[in-house]
Amino acid sequence: MKRLMVILLPLLTSCAVYDAVTMTKYDPNEYLLISEIRVDARHYAEACANPVMSQPNAVSMARKTELFQVYSENLPSNGDGIKAATALNEIAQGLVTQYNISNKVSPIFCKLKFEGIEHSANTIQHVLGGRPR
């Protein structure tokens, strides 16, 4: 036992191990939010050719990614999660900004935006789902 403690103690005091032990546990609300973002992005990408739908879809997506970022912000020991949520929200806000500059946003730009959001949401969802229970 003493020998094991000699091995474990330095390990447990290192930063990486501390981060791993204290990391945020699986949160079903967080997982649901990122799943919704992924599904919405997939459907919104298909509606980019329709100018009546694409702008409200962009606003709706930006609200949801903002909610995801705000929700992640105060989860303890969640540094990497906060950074990813912030970057995802920046991608979504960028589309709304383009609509604020000009009503004529290119359908291909809109499509690439939503595909990027879907791809990133998939990456995040995969890791959030693996958080310790």
Partner: protein
Amino acid sequence: MTIDDINNILASFANCDDPTFVNAANYVAQASQAAQAGQMTPQELAETLKDLQRQMEIIQDMQQLQYKERLNTAINGLLAIIGAVY
């Protein structure tokens, strides 16, 4: 560096083993072709390329989180073994 040079670099990623780089190269190629064809403004192209950087940041952050998850699993497993033995 010319557009052709950039396209050659992107094409070299197409045969890469890592799907992350293949997807990223396809994303950039699609955006630059759309801009060249006049389907996208230069501002939109710039924003699309910034998005790619953001996507790469997300991949990096999530890899870090995944390492911590694995370490957490290993530590808990080790603690369970210690608990069972002692």
